[in-house]
């Protein structure tokens, strides 16, 4: 049996990245992702890799751009205000079709906000953040073990589709300790990076890493080629966990740690004779639209539970498409909805139906 270790989420994620072949990490200090950088700083030199503390998040993401353009497996991590700063660079990375992994250990906002767990960067992660038509694959782990496996997979997804992948966690996931193992991590065959700027060695034509296309037709063509890849991602990469959803009185849609709270609520409500299901999107983009539409055939109502003022609920509504009522319950600013609060919300919904 594989050896299990007790590790913090942030450290386990850093370890998984290194095991997935990440040799370069560019970061800038911000709470609550500090352990990722600290772990990298300690371990990277031991494996011949590089940890670099940049002068800003802006510089860090552009270092990622340069290294990714040169074909390296590269990663950066930050928390909400830092991701805002990185968003310019993320747009350029997407526009230049570069693979990389970006971690956001989300904290409460807007502005400097707070340092407690939040999910208020859902819009930023899934609808852009930076300028222009682009997407990131956004992965939302709910346990330390999943932080490990999704991090390993993130690099392969990035390389396969030549696009940035974001791992979205929160301070609770990042700080909590759980047993993890690193055996049998997901691994895919990925295409060779023939486009990378590694030097021509006078053996091939030059490669250019670029997002500038001054002719509208040329820019549209590049963007549409990327759109085709996005369609492939939507087809191939949706991940979702569905529990107890068929014929449920209320289906909670929740991701990350909120999904764990939702499962507790599911058990609590069962004792009261109310059937609660849980749909947990593991990929926030691509969103599990089809799965939710399928669940909407038999479930009676949906409740999106988030650590925000209501962001993912918009995608849930689009997926349910008016077939069933969709409700929202959330706390924000670093406040985590408790099982009791959610139970009370469900009782209100079920009561209203009667």
């Amino acid at each position: 049996m594989a050896e299990k270790m007790l590790m913090k989420g942030n450290e386990a994620m850093a370890e998984a990245a290194m095991r997935a072949g990440c040799k370069l990490f560019f970061g800038y200090p911000i709470t609550p992702q500090t352990e990722v950088a600290a772990y990298m700083a300690k371990k990277m030199p031991k494996i011949g890799g590089l940890f670099m503390q940049a002068e800003s998040e802006v510089a860090a993401i552009n270092m990622v751009y340069g290294a990714a353009g040169a074909g390296a497996r590269v990663m950066t991590s930050s928390s909400s205000p830092g991701i805002s700063l990185k968003s310019e660079g993320i747009s350029y990375i997407a526009g230049s079709d570069l693979p990389c992994v970006i971690v956001n250990i989300v904290r409460g906002g807007p502005g400097l906000g707070g340092i407690q767990p939040a999910q208020s960067d859902y819009f930023q992660a899934t609808k852009g953040g930076g300028h222009g038509d682009y997407h990131l694959v956004v992965l939302a782990p709910a346990s330390v073990q999943e932080m490990v496996s999704l991090t390993a997979e993130a690099f392969d997804i990035a390389d396969t589709y030549r696009m940035p992948v974001m791992i979205m966690g929160d301070g609770m996931l990042g700080q909590m300790m759980e047993p993890v193992e690193f055996e049998n991590l997901p691994k895919r065959e990925v295409p060779e990076k023939t486009w990378a700027t590694t030097g021509t060695q006078m053996k091939r034509k030059k490669n250019i890493v670029n997002s500038l296309y001054i002719e509208p037709d040329a820019l549209e063509k590049m963007n549409n080629e990327r759109l085709e890849r996005y369609e492939l991602v939507k087809k191939n990469e949706v991940k979702v966990e569905t529990v107890n959803a068929e014929n449920a009185d209320v289906v909670i849609v929740a991701y990350g740690v909120m999904a764990r709270v939702a499962k507790t609520v599911m058990q609590m409500m069962e004792e009261k004779g109310i059937k609660v299901g849980v749909v947990r999107p593991i990929t926030l983009w691509p969103f599990p639209t089809e799965e939710i539409a399928k669940v909407a055939e038999s479930a009676k109502a949906f409740l999106s539970v988030e650590m925000s003022q209501g962001q993912m609920v918009e995608d849930v509504r689009l997926a349910v498409n008016g077939k069933k009522p969709v409700y929202f319950y959330g706390r924000n600013g670093g406040v985590v909805p408790s099982p009791d609060e959610i139970c009370a919300e469900i009782e209100k919904i079920v009561g209203g139906m009667k």
Partner: protein, 249 residues
């Protein structure tokens, strides 16, 4: 018949978009000649900026990356750290390097990043149509300083070589000009040394090239050269500002 003059191999065989009389063409050629002479084209990766030289990725035959405005030294850092035996240079204008990209410039120097920066200073934003640059002279008329650069609102020009000479990590800083043949030869020598330093692992080298912008200065090329000599050179004296080999300049 013997060929006495030809296009450097490292310079692409395409027409450039630069305005008539602009000195970017000369500086591109010097960089390409140096790449040829050092035999490093196959392992060189260039970084183009945002500004007039935004299309530089079309003009050099080596691998190229296009950076966001001001971020070229950070992008170059990423490349150099990923491909250790590569030769990485950035080609940046004054707005790119000394305004929006000041932090990236200073910190690449502070790290002693083993890269080469070609910094073209023509005291104006060219690509966007002639706005004030961080290097515009006091009193200089531009589109955004129609009454001349007023120090009470716009402050004073930034002298990049002087500023970076205080940064311990910088290995070699020289200011040159391309206003006449002797100076062009000196500029090439400096650029060559800046690349040689990188080959030898000596660290951060930056060559500031005083350049002209006839279009946005609103002068003929000849008048521009005269303006450069009479107005820019006193504010931006040519010379070596730092050379770790020679001790402090």
């Amino acid at each position: 018949m013997a060929k006495v003059f030809e296009k450097p191999h490292a310079l692409s065989d395409v027409s450039m978009h630069y305005c008539p009389g602009c000195t970017h063409g000369i500086i591109h050629r010097l960089v390409a000649e140096v790449i040829d002479e050092l035999g490093i084209e196959g392992r060189t990766i260039g970084v183009a900026p945002v500004g007039c030289s935004v299309f530089a990725y079309n003009y050099f035959e080596c691998d190229m990356q296009e950076a966001a405005h001001g971020r070229a030294p950070a992008v170059a850092t990423g490349i150099k750290r990923a491909v250790k035996d590569s030769i990485v240079f950035t080609y940046q204008g004054d707005g790119d390097l000394a305004a929006i990209g000041t932090a990236e410039t200073v910190h690449a120097a502070a790290r002693g990043e083993n890269i080469t920066i070609i910094f073209v200073n023509n005291a104006i934003y060219g690509m966007t149509g002639g706005q004030m640059a961080p290097t515009s002279l006091v009193g200089q008329v531009t589109q955004t300083t129609p009454y001349g650069r007023d120090t009470s609102t716009q402050g004073y020009p930034i002298r990049v070589c002087e500023m970076l000479s205080q940064v311990e990590g910088a290995a070699y800083l020289e200011r040159v000009a391309v206003n006449n043949i002797p100076n062009i030869r000196k500029a090439k020598k400096a650029i060559k040394k800046a690349f040689q330093n990188q080959i030898d692992g000596k660290g951060f080298s930056l060559i500031e090239v005083l350049s002209i912008c006839p279009t946005n200065w609103g002068m003929s090329p000849q008048e521009s050269m005269k303006w450069l000599e009479e107005n820019m050179m006193p504010v931006y004296p040519l010379g070596v500002y730092k050379d770790k080999e020679q001790g402090e300049a």
